[in-house]
Structure formats: structure tokens, C-alpha cells
Symmetry: C2
Subunit: 138 residues, 2 copies
DNA sequence: GGCATTGAAAAGAATCGTTATAATTTGATA
DNA sequence: TATCAAATTATAACGATTCTTTTCAATGCC
């Protein structure tokens, strides 16, 4: 089961963390800290933002999640660490995964100075819903 | 002269704004609001952050600058609006421009729903300086 | 087995970057 | 130069994130 990947990091499995893992498992919504907090606070009313941030930091350091900086002012988290790119609606900030591969090679005079570790393409535009809403504004 | 592009927006040319324009003109450092504030406050000691943010918002709405969300927790500004990509040091957050063009076409079943307006590639890794510093840590 | 010690996790408090408000000042136009 | 909209500034508020303290659970020791 997919969920098991969270269990084998040698970290304490607290109820709060299990609730967060459960919410993240298979989640494709690229949630913010606020999204995660609101999703689990019903189950654990004492949950605090600090616990969300602490847990996400631990998961990040273990390589279980990716931190996205696509939206100004807040972090977004991606539970899928496999190489992929993102399509972002500039209006509602919804994020859609793009799994296509691209040729992104750079000239050696850049790579000799800069040790490149990864790439990430942001495609930005308007999602179907926001396109329709924009059209309705006369 | 390049500087003129800031003058023809139909906005008031105050000394504070001229100082900001002067700092931005030809600047390749992708500065934050704090960087801009610190660069200009010597010339205008009464300069406030509100003026920096206001001016950058105006420039953004006029299409004279780009707002970058590459660093979590703060905005970075790019005075160069021509299509290009960025190389980001994950350690010191320095940003280098990449002017190469790439083929980033997507399948039509994505583009029919999502109205794509632009693309931005983030190459991330370690800059020369941070690579050396990392090596010195035994 | 009970108790002290340790270290990690959770909660509460504080900080940082940014935005909003309101009063004053300024630049552009007539 | 007088007018007025627009820009600047100080201050306060806000949301997102980080820091510090407190709590708790696991372990070792008597």
C-alpha cells in the first residue's frame, strides 16, 4: 500500500501525523499548509499550524514530498516526487500535473559553473472554469 | 536609452520612483523588495516599503517588470520582461538568466481546456560559490 | 516495577514579508 | 501659481512561517 512509504522513515507515528499522511496519500491537489490544516482539524481539533509545518519539513527532508513556490506568499506541497511539471491557473492557482518529458539541455559553459540538480517547468494560463468566468464579465 | 521605458506609462515621475527606476535599469540581480529598499534608502532616507511595493505593483500592471515566486516567503522582481528562463541556486537563491529557447509543446487535450499564456523553466542546483562552500564542510 | 532522564513532537508565542488605511505632501496641468 | 488628483509616508493589520517553550513518550537505571 502506498501509505506505507510514510511509515518507514524512522519517525514517530503520532495521530496528528497519521492524519496528515492520510490526507496526503494520493492527493493531487497540491495543498497549502492552510489546506492541510483545515482538512485534518476536524479529526484533530487541537492540531496546530506548527505541527503541519513541522511534519511537512520532516517529510521534505526525507524526500517524501516536494515544496512548490508557484504561488506568491504561500508554500504548496506536492506528495508526488516523481519528475514532472506543472500547469498553473494564474487566476485560481489550481495546479495540474504534466508528466511529459522535455529536452532541457544547457550549454556546457553554464553547467560547468552551475551544478544543475533538477528542472521544473511552469506552464501558466487560464483553466477552463476561470476562462468561462472571465468571459461572463461584460 | 533603455531608461525611457519607465517614463512613458502616464504615471507621475517622483524622485523616489526615479531612484527605483535607476536601480532597476539593466539590473540582473532579481532583487527582492528589501533589496530595492536598501539600495534606494541612502539616496532617499524617508523612503518606505509601501512606496517600493506600490511602485513595483504599478510597474507590474504596466507590464514593465515580472514578479518571480522562485523563493518561498518573499517576492523577487525581474526588470527584464523578454521571454527567458532561470537558473536558481537552492542554497543562496541567486538567480541567473537563461535565454535559450526550448520546445515546450503540449498535447491538444490539455491545451483545449487550459488556455496557456506562458512558460517558465526553473533550473535549480548549486552555484559555483555554494558548491565550493559545501565542499569545505568536512 | 517505579522513577528520573532524554529527546522528539506539539502547542503557543513571536517574527517576517506584505498589504491596507489614513493623513500629508507633491507633481502635472491649466 | 493655484488646483487637484495622485503619490508618499507612518502606522497598523494581516497571513504565512518560524522560533521557543511545554508536553509527552520512550528508554535507562536503581
Amino acid at each position: 500500500m502506498e501509505m506505507d512509504k510514510y511509515r518507514n522513515f524512522g519517525i514517530k507515528l503520532t495521530p496528528q501525523r497519521l492524519a496528515i499522511f492520510k490526507f496526503l496519500n494520493g492527493n493531487r491537489s497540491h495543498p497549502s499548509a492552510d489546506d492541510i490544516f483545515n482538512a485534518v482539524k476536524n479529526e484533530y481539533p487541537t492540531m496546530s499550524f506548527a505541527t503541519v509545518y513541522n511534519t511537512m519539513d520532516v517529510l521534505k527532508s526525507k524526500g517524501a514530498i516536494r515544496e512548490l513556490t508557484i504561488e506568491s506568499g504561500k508554500k504548496r506541497y506536492d506528495p508526488d516526487c516523481s519528475q514532472h511539471h506543472h500547469l498553473i491557473c494564474v487566476e485560481c492557482k489550481v495546479v495540474v500535473d504534466i508528466f511529459k518529458e522535455f529536452n532541457l539541455s544547457l550549454s556546457s559553459d553554464i553547467t560547468k559553473d552551475f551544478n544543475i540538480k533538477g528542472t521544473h517547468i511552469e506552464f501558466y494560463g487560464l483553466c477552463k472554469r476561470c476562462k468561462i468566468l472571465a468571459g461572463k464579465k461584460h
